[in-house]
Symmetry: C2
Subunit: 327 residues, 2 copies
């Protein structure tokens, strides 16, 4: 059994807890929290809730620690720190800062003789893998990534910070005609506005100026100004009834040419349609936790990404079973 | 530069020759043929055409030998034989015999201290990888593979063996309603007939009994009897004009559930739409040839499949570039 620890118990932590139950070679040993452990109730009977401050005491009781904090401030500190003590997996998703995070985590994990897998999930993660495979197979081509339809947490938060807004949910939606243009092999150059639209559902206070709020949303730089944005004002009841899920998904498409005269077109498409973004992310993380554990058993150490992992290490099946059943 | 040899010069061999030009870290050293080398004209100036009988003379001149023979009788003999002398890649695609082929090639390649990659292409190959990844991430779910629309060489050949048939091309076509049922997450159980239809274009001799030929096709066991099959009789001119390409493609879909109460559905879909089946297969093989070469430089040996290869080894880009640009 691979003994798993969960560090941080939000949506992602609960997703990991749930995913472990679907993998018969894993057991959850403890959940670590920065809150008072006695106030935290988890979904698995008999599993310890411990204080994050005491995590070092668990060095010999946990094979892989899964870090469920945020990329903005938690993981840049936690991943290197915990990688000195444990094999770790995180879902660090600030794309621009991945090289820096890698360097920090690589040094720390080598110091500790541990494996540290960073940036696991679907983007970065499964989408990244598909960009790599498609680019390696079709060197002369063009990559496209579309996100959605799904909830963007960052954009929803940005709306919530506007005065008069009580709650908000923002959906990112890929534009069908852009998807079709890409699939045609025409290799179009698409602007931000042409690729995605943004749809916002907003609950406001009774005395709020809706017209002003709509204007503030639509003109918000970086978040909405470059997109065609639709704003719907709804009641708190409607928000709860119709928008409590966290669906997401998207498309990675590469089109490219082969042949002595580049006469043949090819389209490689990978897509995800997810009812629960955090649960799917968790499911990917748990598979890569298995790989981290196996690499560690082989005596390897250092920071790894999804690009470094032989796929066979992700599966509970043996190499023989994989060749027989899936190849 | 990675020095490549091509062993066998049919559609696949030409595809490899073409693909090498799209990879700036590779050069084609020689093409090996069982025919009289003086009768073979290849598409690359200055590259030697040599007799397959003399292949051992090239042991120190070639880093990876790519085997372009057929799975029925060529590769079971050639891959082990050549793996004793060279790093090799083949596209062995008789799924049921992969375990046996693996064992033979593993012994031979270890004897020679070489890397032997088998069963590279898209199915087996990229489709297999997607089955593995999707199954590892969603352990509770169901896999579906659909092929087409595309030309099945084996089925076309089977029609050509019927008396009175001069030429034939068979397209395998996935059934749209079956694809939609799978994508819905309903996890349907689909019969062979429900998943694919078969469309045949047939050129017959002047005095042929078309009704009889159509009956013979539609009732052919293993090949057509379990499918809804359509037969079109066309002229040799129409065959040449409309059916000279070798397109193919297909879909690998896995649907699965997550959550404490299995309340969330997820759909992972990978699809290919290929103008040229042999050229896409070749492009995949060439990427895996790079990985074989790199593994060999690391001192590794033995038989490998796509499941064993860290994706980063496939790309011409460095690990740093991959993390910065694609992760």
């Amino acid at each position: 059994m691979i003994r798993i620890g969960i560090f941080g118990y939000g949506n992602l932590g609960r997703g990991i807890e749930s995913a472990i139950r679907q993998n018969s070679d894993m057991e959850l040993v403890a959940v670590f929290t920065r809150r008072d452990p006695s106030t935290l109730r988890i979904n698995t009977e008999g599993v310890e809730v411990a204080s994050a401050a005491n995590v070092a005491d668990y060095k010999d009781k946990i094979d892989v620690m899964i870090l469920c904090g945020g990329s903005a401030t938690d993981l840049p500190v936690q991943t290197p720190e915990l990688a000195r003590m444990f094999n770790v997996v995180d879902s660090f998703d600030t794309h621009a800062k991945i090289p820096e995070h890698f360097e920090n985590v690589d040094a720390a994990s080598k110091e500790g003789g541990n494996i540290a897998m960073i940036s696991v999930g679907w983007d970065p993660g499964m989408f990244s893998l598909n960009r790599l495979y498609a680019g390696a197979v079709l060197p002369e081509g063009k990559d496209y990534t579309f996100w959605g339809k799904g909830v963007s947490q960052g954009h929803s938060d940005a709306i919530r910070r506007i005065e008069g807004v009580l709650d908000a949910k923002q959906y990112t939606i890929p534009v069908d005609s852009a998807l079709e243009a890409v699939r045609s092999g025409a290799a179009p150059t698409l602007t931000t506005r042409e690729k995605h639209t943004r749809e916002c559902f907003v609950v406001v206070s009774e005395d709020a100026d809706k017209a002003l709020i709509e204007k503030q949303i639509k003109e918000m730089p970086n978040y909405f100004a470059d997109y065609d944005t639709t704003v719907h004002f709804i009641s708190a009841e409607e928000m709860k009834r119709d928008h409590s899920g966290i669906p997401h998904g998207g498309f990675v498409i590469r089109t490219g040419k082969t042949g002595f005269n580049k006469e043949h077109n090819h389209v490689i498409e990978y897509s995800l349609k997810l009812d629960s973004n955090p649960e799917f992310t968790s499911s990917a993380i748990v598979a890569f936790a298995r790989a981290a554990y196996r690499l560690s058993l082989q005596g390897d150490s250092g920071c790894k990404t999804v690009f470094d992992i032989p796929p066979a290490l992700l599966s509970i099946k043996s190499a023989e079973e994989l060749r027989k059943e899936l190849l």
